[in-house]
Symmetry: C2
Subunit: 571 residues, 2 copies
């Protein structure tokens, strides 16, 4: 949070990674990183943030003092993911800065000041998902994050530390942690900071109030006393202390696999109106504000052994499909802002899909099977958090079974065709449940399975659905069981679906976003739902208010030498 | 949600109740109601909504079709409160419409379109608190609400029904419940509708999606099947069915007291810079954007018996103080928009305050003692939900003990003076805890006591604090125990407090609102916190977006014959 005034926009095409023309690309790999270095030494990895100030994603600013933009975070997300799949032997990740006496200055202010409202919101959403993935790796993959704060950790810099398991602060009279967003910029820490301060580190609320209103932050003993960091040490003892702590924590993680798989690049063929992956197709009808995502089932039976699964690696169907779907969703979020509705379809052999699920289930304790299901859980959560209307169409030829059936329950509504379409000789659609929809393996961010959330008010329906696990259900049965919203025959199908999609495109995009954010998450709340609902919604409100983004607002005037001019009414 | 285009603004002074000049007044009583009728027949009361369309609060619109504004809701809140105190014998309240074939058209659209952002937000907050008070009366006072939907219940009309225990819908082919805000106005149902649909009535999320996007709503059997209402009956059977149901429910409530107390008017003397009540003073320093609320302790010892308490009635110190504080807070919220910070002080005899708490505790099962504590719980929640910075100053002469100590823990921070001020011969301040801060009797909306929330991260501190119940704590002890934020001596006091208040006034009001809404509610979430956080924050965002309130937005263009023009980007 302290880079100097921006230079003029740089020539973008060469300088900015993660962009293809105007589009943002989420695919990367360590050899292409501009901002991070990933080193692995047996069970301990080091993830070093060393932001290249000359390589901003959007242009018009420099990424000074390890400040970041979406491009920086795309690399971080990739590194976290690779550590799980490519380096499962790693038990501890030391997250540190490559700059002297600066940990990280947070999200780049010039970038925020210049970005559209939509970009700010999408940027925060992705960075939140990335922070959550750190906590997910810690909780579920035995990869613990130790954060080394060697200097200023401001705003998003401290929020990155908050996502880690253990925060070590240099005690040199100047290194400090801070959340200066409110006093400096009139906005909130946008990446979970307030929630993690109160709910993860359980900082007392009055201290949290003091902390969040103190621009220069808190250092030394007070930072430890207030539980803002876990320990502090003189600079001269830092390296030694970090090594000791990392080894201690690593010693507590055991049963690590020895070797990972390579996450080979996700191949994508982009044309004017489509994105083609091996198992995923995205078709855009931009005039109708639609994106249709079709997921294809596996081409062959599952492998006969875990060795074979490991050998297939990134080409193993469930993993490749998950990565392709993830990329497709992110692409729509950032590059297709006017798409109102995402339509999910599938195409394949239902029994073969179930066979893969059964394979993962039988081998659930194998590290790769576990990681693949955790990946699916994260991708499905990404779908839940996507602020587009979601509808799933279940038609002849589809394979919504087991894991893929979650896309029915993640959707705002679903339509299933009764019987067949005239002239189509494929069998009527069927839907098959398996244990994955009940066990919590794909829990939503509220901690419940999608079906448990769906049937909050009718627990007996949940039991009834459980009783039909494995049984192919036709449209009328699925409707009767409450698994789909509408079952329609071919006479009504086209009109009803078309009317729904047209209606959706006619509504206010903002209203829909707010409505869906409320209707999708019934039941309990967790730190994750708090971050995405309470915190994010307030931040979005503030990102829209003149006091932050108006011509005289704090974000606009930052660095101009002029003070912001606030509307003083408290609302 | 269907009143016709508005007439020109009416002359206000005579037509509008609840206003004194420009200020909104929350004090009312049944004889002054313009919009509601309250009838009591032994254990069954009838609350009839019959809105006087010629008596809007703000002017510029008519309250057609039982649509409402803040003025209508002020009367409803008063009636709910009076039923608890004046008619504790009532077990069932039949909430119905006085209009033919219209239940309630919801919040008046013209009022919303013309109101400032601040008024919209405050209006929704108060109506939410009122709906919560219905559920509070049901849960804690055995007063159950039966809602009779005799025609259209649209938007806020249906949200009012949702706050009730039992919803009865006429089945006549036209009576329907609906939440048409999104399709009609591009905003959200602002009074808990989405949350109560998913979390109270547990409507399946895809049905909720269909319901909330269907302008005309849902009627008849589908409304029952989807759990939107509890039962339906033909119009010819309505009266009989309601009577039967009310008697059934009443029969389940027993042990009701026979007679209540009169809630005599809250007396208030308003001058240019103050509001004076008997036990509360509010002093405004508008140049500094400050309101100081001083609460005064009791003038005499508590009564010697519950009979005497009943005899004192509304003049019984704890009750009178609670009502005065409630009015003071509401007045600041609606009429003093530029006040940045509320300072709480107190003045009185600590031991006498504790004696009143002890009296209420000993008589906790007496209906009036119970109602008074429930009232305090609601008032304290109203404080928590007030979007102003809150600070409590504990000085010599103060009486922050027991119930009043909750105002220390409700504040964003607190300052306690060590020793005395030069020239002041009063004893140093002391703070005394009693069981009220631990028992949950004053639980916050997250379901925890303020101290349990405060000490989420240090359960031992909670135990340590419990161990000093009844012991007067000086500033250093209180600070050591984590009960106050800062303990300062008289050399630092004035400067530190002044600097804090100046700093607070310098920050962005919106940023503070968002920050405080996040820091105040650590720990678990409930339907209430969901409504005030997730739902309200999203609604506030939408209330700010051009798609709703811009010159071509849906709210602005409603009734003009012109369609809204939306920015199509999904954010």
């Amino acid at each position: 949070m302290g880079e100097a005034a921006p230079k003029a926009a740089q020539a973008q095409d060469s300088a900015a990674p993660h962009r293809i023309g105007a589009a943002i690309d989420f695919r990367t790999e360590p050899s292409r990183y501009r901002h991070w270095k990933l080193g692995v030494d047996k069970e301990i990895a080091t993830l070093t943030m060393d932001v290249d100030e000359k390589a901003p994603l959007l242009g018009g600013y420099e990424l000074k003092l390890n400040s970041y933009d979406l491009g920086v975070d795309i690399e971080l997300a990739d590194a976290i993911e690779r550590l799980r799949f490519e380096h499962p032997e790693v038990a501890v990740i030391i997250l540190k800065s490559g700059k002297d006496r600066v940990f990280c200055a947070g999200a780049n202010i010039r970038m925020l000041a210049g970005a559209t409202h939509a970009h700010k919101v999408n940027f925060c959403k992705f960075t939140n998902e990335t922070r959550n993935s750190i906590e997910d790796a810690s909780a579920n993959s035995g990869q613990k994050y130790v954060c080394v704060v060697n200097g200023t950790a401001a705003g998003g810099g401290y929020e990155l530390a908050l996502a880690c398991d253990h925060i070590m602060l240099v005690d040199d009279g100047s290194a400090a942690v801070s959340l200066p967003e409110l006093p400096l910029l009139a906005v909130l820490p946008g990446t979970g900071g307030l929630t993690r301060v109160t709910d993860k580190r359980k900082v007392r609320r009055d201290y949290a109030d003091v902390f969040c209103t103190t621009e220069e932050g808190v250092k030394g003993k007070r930072a430890v006393d207030w539980r803002l960091v876990d320990e502090m040490m003189p600079r001269s003892k830092l390296d030694e202390a970090v090594e000791k702590r990392a080894k201690e924590i690593a010693a507590r993680q055991n049963g690590k696999p020895e070797q990972g798989i390579a996450l080979t690049p996700v191949e994508r063929k982009r044309s004017a109106n489509s994105n083609e992956y091996k198992f995923v197709s995205v078709a855009f009808e931009r005039d109708n504000r639609l994106a249709t995502i079709t997921l294809r089932g596996p081409e062959s039976a599952p492998p006969s052994s875990v060795q074979e699964m490991v050998q297939q690696g990134a080409a193993f169907w469930p993993l490749q499909l998950a990565r392709e779907l993830d990329d497709a969703i992110l692409d729509i979020r950032l590059n297709e802002l006017e798409v109102a509705t995402i339509v999910f379809k599938s195409d394949g052999d239902t029994q073969r899909v179930l066979a893969y699920d059964a394979f993962l289930d039988v081998n659930a304790t194998h590290w790769l099977a576990r990681e693949i299901r955790l990946k699916w859980r994260r991708v499905l959560k990404r779908v839940d958090m996507t602020s587009r209307s979601l509808v799933t169409l279940i038609e002849p030829g589809s394979c919504f079974a087991g894991t893929l059936a979650e896309l029915i329950f993640a959707a705002d509504r679903s339509y299933m065709l009764i019987g067949t379409m005239q002239g189509d000789n494929r069998a009527p659609a069927s839907l098959v449940l398996n244990d994955a929809s009940f066990s919590g393996v794909y829990a939503m961010s509220n901690g419940l399975s999608r079906l448990a959330t769906r049937f909050l008010g009718e627990p007996r329906s949940l039991e009834t659905a459980k009783a039909v696990i494995g049984r192919p259900l036709d449209a009328e049965q699925a409707h009767e069981l409450g698994l789909v919203t509408f079952a329609l025959d071919d006479i009504d199908w086209d009109d009803e679906v078309r009317l729904f999609l047209e209606e959706r495109a006619s509504f206010s995009p903002d209203g829909l976003t707010g409505m869906e954010a409320n209707l999708r998450f019934a039941g309990p709340e967790t730190m994750e739902t708090k971050i995405f609902a309470r915190l994010t919604a307030w931040q979005n409100w503030i990102f829209q208010r003149p006091n932050a983004v108006g011509p005289e607002g704090a974000l606009t005037r930052y660095g101009s030498g002029q003070k912001p001019n606030f509307d003083l009414k408290r609302v």
